[in-house]
Symmetry: C2
């Protein structure tokens, strides 16, 4: 096998070691349509029908050329046409991958994970990774305008779009005001609703800071991405109607699946 470590949990899919029956017979040679166009159309249909997962690695040029019974150059012609269409992404030395549709994550005063995904026609999801109900962190406390040693509640969540991981987020709340928040989150599966249960009907984003870096081993694992691809790190503070800070969020987004969008 040659599966990258981050792809171990992905559903079984075709690999370069699979044996292909030559489909040269399925191509019309000398029928007025060039070979590379026929191959392009065939692969485009297969990808469209979901034969390969988004983000999955396609067989190598060599194997595809073998499968279709054509020269590698001919194969490359078909593949570069697919890449130009944006259906696949070709990376020298790595291979070819089915292009994933990137999510435009709209950042503004009313940034809400679920709402953003729904307006992008994606199915939001997520799960709770970890809870720490007596966390201390001087830097986070400062962001929340609390004394440095104030107790905090931390929820670490994984955000998903259409079942694919998008983000790992640590949510920090002042403990004295949101002691039971973890339980409410477990019950509702939503930060917004858990906050409502704690008496916060509405909240606004005060600011967002964005940076980029390579992920830790754990982050790469959770996001199911290679360690060589960066994550977008978002630090944000949410305040209640009175302008009092209620949440500090530290999110790490898979940079290959998400793009940040700022209007105005």
């Amino acid at each position: 096998m040659n599966t990258p470590y981050y792809a171990r949990w992905m559903p079984k899919q075709r690999t370069k070691h699979d044996v292909f029956v030559t489909e040269g017979a399925a191509l019309d040679r000398g029928a007025g349509i060039t070979l590379w166009r026929q191959i392009e159309a065939r692969l485009a249909r297969e990808i469209g029908e979901g034969a390969y997962e988004p983000g999955a690695q396609l067989p190598t040029e060599r194997d595809l050329a073998l499968r279709f019974g054509v020269n590698r150059h001919t194969m490359r012609h078909a593949l570069s046409a697919l890449a130009e269409r944006g259906m696949v992404r070709i990376e020298q030395g790595r291979g070819m991958f089915v292009q994933e549709t990137v999510l435009d994550y709209l950042i503004g005063a009313r940034t809400r994970f679920s709402e953003i995904l729904i307006t992008q026609n994606r199915r939001p999801g997520g799960r709770l990774l970890r809870v720490d109900d007596d966390r201390r962190d001087a830097r986070v406390a400062r962001e929340l305008k609390l004394p440095a040693s104030s107790p905090l509640v931390e929820l670490e969540t994984l955000g998903e779009a259409d079942g694919r991981p998008i983000s790992v987020t640590s949510h920090f709340f002042p403990k004295d005001r949101f002691a039971g928040l973890a339980d409410y989150y477990r019950r509702t599966g939503s930060i917004t609703r858990a906050l409502q249960a704690c008496g916060v009907n509405d909240y606004m984003r005060l600011f967002t800071r964005l940076a980029a870096r390579l992920p830790s081993a754990e982050e790469a694992l959770l996001l199911r991405q290679p360690r060589s691809r960066p994550v977008i790190v978002s630090e944000a503070v949410n305040v209640d109607g009175a302008g009092c800070p209620i949440e500090f969020g530290l999110a790490r987004f898979a940079s290959e699946r998400v793009r940040m969008m700022i209007q105005g």
Copy 2:
């Protein structure tokens, strides 16, 4: 030597291999101030005075302990205090590095490179890398709401803060409206002023899209950063007073030196 390729042009600086003369005599033992505090203060001053370049690697704990004639534990105490202050960054297995001050690049409707730097007390700079007065690019044309094959003027610039490169930006303009723009830029050194010379007194940012990826070899070279550190890619459209798109900017920021800030 063991200099990474991107650092070849950087000024010569101290490395962990330099030999230090013991400065134990310079510390006041039993004078009411702990040794680690004295060392902390000394190193903080040296860094502040620029003895080490931002981002440069500090000598090893062992060498520093030797220099000050103290135990490694004492040295570590001083260093962890510096790390907590944010002056140095300690990476297990790699070494210690002078923390670079990150620039908060404020994104909003009136985003201007020079103004952002000045409000952050940084000295803005830059130079023109390349001009193409008859550029065609279907994707850029679409962003500017022009026919796909419209001619464009492209200026590629390097943005600097305090003499350190922070961004490489391709600015695209509709050629029919901004034919002489390159010359104006050469004369004024500012996009804003070059646009004024072309009759655009004010412009606004319509949107900004942010993504992250690893840099190309050329981008890494220009930004003087390793290829293994990501760049933040910003795509933005500016419009004139009438709402007509006048510029598409494709900027690549050194993620170690810049952080994007969004308010509200």
